[in-house]
Amino acid sequence: MKRGGNKKFRRASKSTAKEDDDEDEYRVVFHRKRKETYHQYQIVGRRVPTEQEPTPQVYRMKLWALDATRARSKFWYFLSRLRKVKKANGQIIACNEIFEKDDTTVKNYGVWIRYQSRVGFHNAYKEYRETTMNAAVDALYTEMASRHRVRSHALQIIKIAEVANEDVRRENTRQFLADDVSFPVVRKTLRHDSKSQKTTFKYQRPNFAIL
């Protein structure tokens, strides 16, 4: 899979104009869109300094977004709601991505969120078991979209914290914490080795006997 490629779809109808062009002209190439994942950013911003206010208050915010541009946008969205600063009269001093050091141990993450449903606004607390906070945020957005039909724009993360095993609140998280947990894998289906070998219908020998 190529990164960042656009969908290239060319038809052979214009072939008369460029006969000498190589066969690349007629090839139909679909690039699958790369899965976007959430990243943690630190944004620092303030009002633009003026003569009346030469050293304005500096604000720092840590937030999750798909890329730095969207992170900056989110920063202005939140800041304009919290303080009397907006993009038109403000400036961004720094925008850095925060990388996590430990991505090889599974941790419990508690997420406090606020979201807008078709009825109104709700506050909620959710727990995820993941190796990184970014993965937990990814899982959060996916779960909220599927279970509650909450789109990403209607979801605000209030706080994320690592939760100690004894402070875990959700049974679904707690059940994997004990050392003696043992469960079977049921309904295991045979899988094709690669996408090219995928078939919608798989031949299977009939399972009956004529006596």
Binding site: T104, T105, T131, E171, F176, F183, V185, D193, S194, K195
Partner: protein, 167 residues
Amino acid sequence: MVFCFLSVSRGESLSMSLVVVVVKSSGGERSMTFSARSWQRILTKTNIELGRVALVNLKADKLYGKLVVVVDLVDQNRVLVDAPGIKRCIINLKRLAITPIKLDTGRCPDAAALAAAHKGAAAEFAASKWGQKIARQSARKTLTDFDRFKVAIARSKRSAIVKKAMA
């Protein structure tokens, strides 16, 4: 997650037999039905647990063919796996073939303990029928055209001897 085996209902033939399991948790009770084949897998002790050794069997995965150890449980579909020479990572259970081997490494063992335990597990797996089959298949794959020819000759010789003996 507590598994409580309540009733076993058996049909007339083996292919019809079903096993009903009642799962008790703080959320209440619910029953699960298993086919004979699934139940056989449960009986052969290929449960997911800490220290369970598994083989990555999805070709598309970068760990394909690796014998890995379950070092932590993430959720009911994913586990954290480790093996000497790889970076500890989460893998979906759909990509794993579970072996009957279980190590006493517990949760997140250090690299030295894991390597020591993995050595024994690898030897045990290689000695098993399953491991022998994989070794045979990979040996077959490395054969050259001439090697394959030699195998064909050897086979025909062997079958000639067998035919003679059986005649």
